[in-house]
Symmetry: C3
Subunit: 302 residues, 3 copies
Amino acid sequence: MKFLFEILKQISVSGDESSVSASILQYIDQRKDHWNVIPIIYSGENFHDCILLKFGEPRTAVFAHMDTVGFMTRYNNQLISIGGPEIIEGSVLVGSDSLGEITCKLHGDENEIYHDFPRGIDPGTSLSFHQNVRLDEDFIQAAYLDNRLGVYSAMNLCETITDGWVVFSTYEEHGGGSMPFLLKFIQNTSPVRQALISDITWITEGVQFHKGVVISIRDKYIPRKKFIDRIIKLAKESGIPFQLEVEEFGGSDGREVQFSPYAIDWCFIGAAEENVHTPDERVSLADLEAMLNIYPFLLERL
Amino acid sequence: MKFLFEILKQISVSGDESSVSASILQYIDQRKDHWNVIPIIYSGENFHDCILLKFGEPRTAVFAHMDTVGFMTRYNNQLISIGGPEIIEGSVLVGSDSLGEITCKLHGDENEIYHDFPRGIDPGTSLSFHQNVRLDEDFIQAAYLDNRLGVYSAMNLCETITDGWVVFSTYEEHGGGSMPFLLKFIQNTSPVRQALISDITWITEGVQFHKGVVISIRDKYIPRKKFIDRIIKLAKESGIPFQLEVEEFGGSDGREVQFSPYAIDWCFIGAAEENVHTPDERVSLADLEAMLNIYPFLLERL
Amino acid sequence: MKFLFEILKQISVSGDESSVSASILQYIDQRKDHWNVIPIIYSGENFHDCILLKFGEPRTAVFAHMDTVGFMTRYNNQLISIGGPEIIEGSVLVGSDSLGEITCKLHGDENEIYHDFPRGIDPGTSLSFHQNVRLDEDFIQAAYLDNRLGVYSAMNLCETITDGWVVFSTYEEHGGGSMPFLLKFIQNTSPVRQALISDITWITEGVQFHKGVVISIRDKYIPRKKFIDRIIKLAKESGIPFQLEVEEFGGSDGREVQFSPYAIDWCFIGAAEENVHTPDERVSLADLEAMLNIYPFLLERL
């Protein structure tokens, strides 16, 4: 889990993902010779801060977003949201601007958010939750588990995958915008008809801790029933613990697969967390393990 | 109207359109040798559940969506909406899951919808309104007229069309998602600059029964005035009864033509109904006849 | 400023931009031989009412939208909005339909808008604010400054630009729809990785008159920080007065660059106005001058 702890330390609010992207790229570079298959790596300014890995002959693409929710400084001591962070009085926020490192506290509510940093902060500076990783026998608790765990799961898949795309995307928390060019590149390079979204969902009345990885039948958007039925059938065969989600709201990079100009089926698969978009996101280690296990199983068989 | 009655029986909630798609494909197969021009048929997994027919040298594409609104089972006896169905206490819903056929009643309201089926239903099962087709001298009344009548009109056009695309799309009721890849395929195969949306609109203070097919000047989105003016001019020449719609809300597959990366003009043309998205949608037979008549007239001249 | 006064007279509500497009095209035709570089001009039905100018070897594209907010006649004497015009009791509206010229007054509020023209107006007719241009030493005040000033600035850039795209788009005020095909054409013809949005923003608590052209760090959407940082660095070097904007709401053609299937960085740069979307939009001449000056400076260096 060293890599996970490494990326949990990185700040990467939507629009400002360059540092976590560099970390992931560095890790890939260090590890890739130990992987089952050495991928072709696509990154750099032509891909903004995104990273694509092509292994063998892909039939399926796996997407994990690198960005997190956070805040941006506005005028005076005002803050505005990036993505949908919970506004919790007293939250510790961190970042940096032209004058140096910043640690401050959030005050206010949805109507007006501000910080208490003693000096002004450059307008347009990204701040995000102070990190505090807590691990016990059953749970991991930290900021940014959404979607550091999805990135971690996608990276774990890289160890054994023989055929497939593994893609690290940006901007997911703030409406998206990198998926369209990533999908275009994939379809023009080595096209797929299937996409899995490696991301973290929510504990709800129907999705509970320790019941396994979540296969989402729908959120705000609805994947094609034919594909979901096939995933569920495979999941049953795998013996890996899983639970089904049927929600009316929420979205993911799957939304952009749905609305892309390609006939690509998609499904969201990931562990569930409580305290979503707070510094205290919490995920069951058993559910995370099921997430880590189901991706290699599915990638081989889909 | 045998084909219309056939497809009115089919359940095809957004995301789960495979059975109506198979019916339409079967009908095309049976009828196509009797059509004026035999089309090239594009369907199958590369097109998900959509169907495209290419007749001659297309200048215009006609789109009719195959899906309908409905409900999806969530946890326990909860239901959530697919598209925007009216929530009417006591509505009879039908569907099937792994344990067999389902007929149940809807209870609750917009805040919480549930069913009264005596056993649990598999989460993620699609349910839709029980069908009851009523026909008299002036009206047809049934569930799913939106958009079975649009499909019927598009199929009727196939009898005589010499040049054009006729396309059956999915997901229209739930935000769309098939139009982007359909449009891309069309533009890469035999491009067009004009699109007509064969769909059903609403009776309002300005759109009334028996006044003819509706040509929509706008809904939430606004087609280009130049194109609408040309359509209206042709409609006047046709002698076919029509009325003009100017609405602030609502959308159709035209929205996705508007936002596509192609300079394609579009216009919504179809009969109007009352009791929208209920089991009791009602359309004037005279308006339907005008709809059936205007499509061949326009396709020849546009 | 003769060209600016010329286009301020033109009505071009979203969806009905053909007359302003013709004026701009005519002006380009008259002026282009005096420009530093003669561009390749793309226009006509394949581009709907949009115009693209390709100068030299483009690295950056500049977008200015030609449409304005306004109203559309519905049934009886009702009006509905196009874009988001302010609804001000007694505003004078102008337009024309099949029976001739129209000048009338707006009555009502957001819930119900109507006009007082003594005869019925053809349904689907576009009306917009009566124009009244006021110029003094410090300010220009008129309807449609958003985005006639952006068009004017883009046209001014044409005088000296050596390499770049200058593009006049449609539909920006009403959700967009021309940008996707414009971007596709650009990327297939002579691709770029950078886009600037030549448009007018709002006076707010952080953006004030006479403080210079606005470089927007974000509105509802968030451009990539790497690119914004580069723009701000260049702006500082230029000595041209500028101010930074950080807003939570609002959008521009930049939104469609963000969601396009191309990895193109974007930034909104333009003067700020008060009385947005009214007949009395007001812009500082000093801010306009800074806008006119920054575009040639940036285009050369980006």
